[in-house]
């Protein structure tokens, strides 16, 4: 089974546990994917236009931004490769939700593993809006089944009946 694992810089352990469980039943061909979100850069361009400047930051700053994005993406994929040594590493740029579904189609994934949202330490695992817009889009538009993986939330039970 070809499994596309979507990394966001905070979820490699959860995705790894999910693939371990899956691999007990059948052999897996894995790919890890990290998408650099270009949205914030567009926001910076809009901001510059508001201040009556050309949209692109000056070349040295632009290069610095590109370098930081590249290094961060590479770090996340290298971290992923420590958990999935045999996996194919894929790196994309754009809107994450669209890049994920398009990559799933191109790579002919049989399953996409994605987490509900990036975990920065605060949000409870379950509850309203626990699924972010990227995961929601992937569930709605992926060309194959999607496995939504999140951490255990037994301590949040029982929920009001």
């Amino acid at each position: 089974m070809r499994v596309l694992c979507c990394l966001d810089g905070t979820n490699v352990e959860q995705v790894s546990r999910a693939t371990e469980m899956l691999s007990t039943s059948q052999p897996l061909t894995l790919a890890i994917l990290y998408v650099t979100d270009t949205g914030p850069r567009h926001d910076i361009e809009h901001l510059r236009e508001r201040f009556l400047r050309p949209p692109d930051p000056p070349p040295p700053r632009e290069e610095e931004i590109r370098q930081a994005e590249k290094t961060s993406a590479q770090d996340i994929l290298n971290e992923g490769l420590r958990y999935f040594p045999a996996a194919e590493a894929l790196q994309r740029q754009g809107r994450p939700e669209r890049e994920i579904v398009n990559t799933a189609a191109e790579w002919q994934a049989d399953l996409v593993i994605v987490c509900p949202r990036a975990e920065y330490g605060g949000k409870r695992a379950i509850g309203p809006k626990s699924v972010g817009h990227v995961a929601r889009f992937v569930v709605d538009h992926a060309p194959c089944p999607v496995l939504l993986v999140r951490r255990l939330a037994r301590q949040q039970f029982p929920i009001p009946r």
Partner: protein
Amino acid sequence: MPELTKAVLTSLVGVLTLIGIMTRPFRWNEAMIAIGGAAVLLLLGLISPADAFLTLVRDWNTFLFFLGMMALSALAEAAGLFDWLAAQAARLAGKSAARLFLNVFLLGSLISMVLSNDATALILTPIVYVLVTKLRLPVLPYLFACTFIADTASFLLPVSNPINVIIISRFPLDLWTFLRLLFLPSLVVIGFNIGLFFLLYRNQLKGSFDIERLPSAEQAIKHRAYFRYTCCVITVVAFAYVMASAVQLPLSLVALSGAVLLLIGAIGWKQISLRQTAKRISWSIFGFIAGMFIVVRAIEDTGLTTRFGNWLIHLSGGTSFGAVMVGTVGAALGTNLINNVPMAVVMISALGGIRHAGPSLQHGFVAATIFGCDLGPNLTTVGSLATVLWLLILRQRDVDVSGLDYFKVGVVVTPLMLLVGALTIWLLL
């Protein structure tokens, strides 16, 4: 040409120029549109060349302030000052994402206060983006923090926003009155802004970061001697700004002197050439402001702006509370329609009639205009209502767009900040 025809033609050109700036057809540059409007007025004889020239000469302080301010920021950036400050902010955060968020707000306030909101929005924002990308923190809260604080902290001092210079060039406020009416409300609004953002992003700010991912602050410094020199000059400039405001000296002289001192140092230490410095300055801004000054001057002669001003005074009911509320709401909405520079120019022309009003009404309108023009852009942040409408249309067509996240935050947070700030100004009148 009969007076009525002249008035109708001038108003038509003025309105078309403002609509052009608002909608930017074919992605034309705003400067081109403003200069085009002024050129049409001159060609049709709706404003005399002598009048246009005098209008520009009268506002020399504004032009030179823009030049000095942009040069100061560019030269400080060349020294690595902003990168160094951002790295220090990260180190002082002690690995806490929330403390870094607070430090970004404080650093943005400091930079806006001394080097204007342009420096925070245009230089600090990409630096913070690089910083949080390297630290693997959620990008958007920090980006929003930079964008918002640029405007929220832009009425701490007269130099914190070029809009302030445009307005107080026409309606001088002594330093004490400025600080009383705008510095204290600014502190209140900054506090309110920080509090609201912590509430909005509380879930994304609970984590920590690995400081090892960052290069040392020392690496930001490109040349040690020039860096130290820049720190000294900027500190002196900050004090000189306050002194100049206190004795009502033109602020442009301080900004330009500081820029010249930095330029001498930069050339002496071979850090940046005059040509490279000139490249970092947005020259089209001068065309934009000049065009707007001429267009509004021509409209002024038709009596349209005076009527607008009288209508604002009428709406205020002649009370200081009304003046603050009407001034704030009018300026804030206007900045989102036509950008804050043209709105400030329109407002100073419209408010000519308040010179004969009582001091509290006069101060109320002037402070509220500064406040509304400075803070108002946070409502749409991406530029103007026209930009937001365009983004919404694109989204409906399922085209890749960004900027709407800013808008959502802006429409929630900014009206609250406008209300709190306006009430504080009124209480201090």
